[in-house]
Subunit: 234 residues, 4 copies
């Protein structure tokens, strides 16, 4: 494969995409990952509708932050404009993942935020996982994927969350999006979200009306892994 | 294996049948796929009761649209007449799948249609997944598999659905059937149905009384993938 | 390995035991299969507490229908007396399986019969899967595994079922036992039971108060696979 | 790898840690196992935040029972102090496991003990699986992992359980810990706990208000596997 200035993000996007079926997060082509290069102002994203088993590194499509294809022979993911909007507005993210993973999607279908019931959740975010409401009919009928990006941004804004602290969201009636400093981190967040979604579902089945995790525990676990006093990892 | 005019559909049927265990859609022999050749007026179908691990391409049985065996040493699937009836009446389908996949079968056992709760569903059909009611005792005691075909056709007719738009159904108390332009597409539909069935189950557990997806979103997602303005895929 | 008159049943029991982890029916050593030789009046059974990965064909223990070890260096399964009682009383069975498979065991823990909700069930038995009540304290404190055999036999008798028609049972608060003409068939029945148990669980979650399958359908499906007019298989 | 006096526990800890992903008990790095050497007064534990696929035997960190690192280049697991406290106070254990396995963690999130509903549970412990309540805010804000150890010890004490009879616990809102004479046995207990947690969840779904296993059966099954009259295994 020819080397060029996009090689790094093509490789990152390809490898992150290939993680999705291994982690059990996608069926067929129901998902996509992108990886951004901030200096070049572009991202590499999965082509639309290509099965994971047929995917090659050189199939990744290079797109700018307005959603215009810069390089690539294939059509980019139909969700490309959502990725573009998020990269344009959130300057510190380097990767985005969209899946229809089973438990997270079931929660999205209910329009409910996923309550923070335990430390598996609190290790990753202090808030409930937010669920953005479905868009107005006008937005849906208009530039749908573009508006999906704004729906996500506005949901976080309204709830007062920073995209650097809350790296995952459910889009009501649709499915999850996650992001992070790298495509790998965004994939990690997708797997965490699916696990947290399954545990929260089971928790409510075992004990209807279960209370959330108490604040001291939320704070402790989040700060073990994040911020100036973190002491998890090497 | 000897080449003959049935080689193509035997290969298509064999390969599609072998996808079922890989996709986790069958236990033992609880499923079958057929692939039709419209010009020859026949289809190739799995032999009855043969485990997938023992199945060979040449075991596929060639049957005409009246359900008569045209070529093959083995007995065809006990569901062969259901396939024959569908091919006879629906001239644009090229493949049919029957499984007892876990979640779709559980829905069939309740006689409930699967409500359209999200875009994973709406990407594939705008309607709820219909569940045909169990047959009358007379029909069951008569030519059961033949009548099952008509039960499916009549259910779609009564609900006003086209078989080209709705490519999947539950047969009440029994299990799902799916179809499509090719055997591969019918297998794809079986896997989609199982996923949609699991997500709808979880959705109702997480939020009893959950509302359906709103019309604008149903329309948008279906038209992203189907019809003149579709923009999904290559 | 030395050939002797027990080679056939040792091989049958070994291979059937090794199917259990492949079918996802056992964790660690939580299960056992035996295979009987009616002419010799003995059966081969898994040794007690040996992990499947360490199991060898020659480890199978040969036991007579009174539960006495006839040949073998290891202790037989702690459930050996249950197997012996069943072989002694049911002269047409050639294999028995005991597992703690997840869904079947959950039903056993509720003391409920598994209702016949669909054709996946009816293809294999017309009755609900019976659940034998837990034994009296006296029976438990006495010769427990021996009494478990009688508990199974008596449950079928009281419900008026033949062991040749109903080849599976739940033992209340404990777990399932299945049997059949061969050890292979008994393993097949264990996998069918686990699937039927999962589907019935899901069915009740999706629609509480769900009705059973109607009689005509029960009869039709059972007779497709069993008896003089069966037409399933080769 | 250089041989030294810690080789045995490094190997035991490494191999036990590698069992966790194989048994489906961990996602990414969400778990850790330690193995103790009582003569040397130290244990080997997984380094913090290292993915299982990158883990090597020599990465294990040697720590004393006060939680001080004795040997090793990497930071030990963030849960190291919990392990140290348990080893310090429970002199007959040789291995400890912490996971966030799905079903056990869901129960922990509800603060409920797992009721003893069947023999799969009773084969391993006579009591309900205890759930230690979340700690006070002061304990959480203080030396959290150290206090977690005492929370576990105190929960067992208050319930009157011996750590040699009850080898597993849920920490409220957090996740399970298990232990045993060896690291291998502690891993075994983690897998048993996850299975028991799933079965208990299903049991309550199938029959809300389900009664516990009766005493005679609890006693019988536990004593089949434990104590002077046990007769399970070789």
């Amino acid at each position: 494969m020819s080397k060029n200035k996009y090689s790094n993000i093509r490789k990152a996007a390809y490898e992150a995409n290939m993680q999705l079926p291994k982690l059990g997060l996608v069926l067929f082509t129901f998902g996509n990952v992108s990886a951004a290069d901030r200096d070049l102002g572009v991202f590499a994203i999965k082509p639309s509708g290509v099965p994971y088993k047929d995917l090659a590194e050189e199939d990744m499509v290079i797109v700018d932050f307005d959603g215009q294809v810069v390089k690539g022979k294939l059509h980019p993911s139909s969700d490309t404009l959502t990725h573009a909007v998020l990269y344009r507005h959130w300057e510190n993210i380097g990767g985005i993942v969209h899946t229809h993973s089973t438990y997270a999607t079931a929660w999205a279908q209910t329009h409910r935020d996923i309550p923070n019931y335990g430390t598996t959740h609190a290790d990753h975010l202090t808030a409930d996982v937010p669920c953005a409401p479905p868009m107005s009919d006008e937005m849906i009928q208009g530039d749908y994927e573009y508006q999906t990006g704004f729906q996500i941004i506005n949901c976080l804004k309204e709830k007062g969350y920073s995209y650097e602290e809350v790296e995952m969201i459910l889009v009501g009636n649709h499915a999850p999006f996650t992001w992070g400093k790298t495509a790998d981190k965004a994939v990690y967040n997708s797997a965490v979200l699916e696990t947290v979604a399954q545990m929260a579902y089971l928790t409510e089945q075992i004990r209807p009306g279960n209370p959330r995790l108490k604040d001291a525990l939320v704070k402790k676990h989040f700060e073990r892994k994040h911020g100036p006093n973190s002491y998890y990892g090497q």
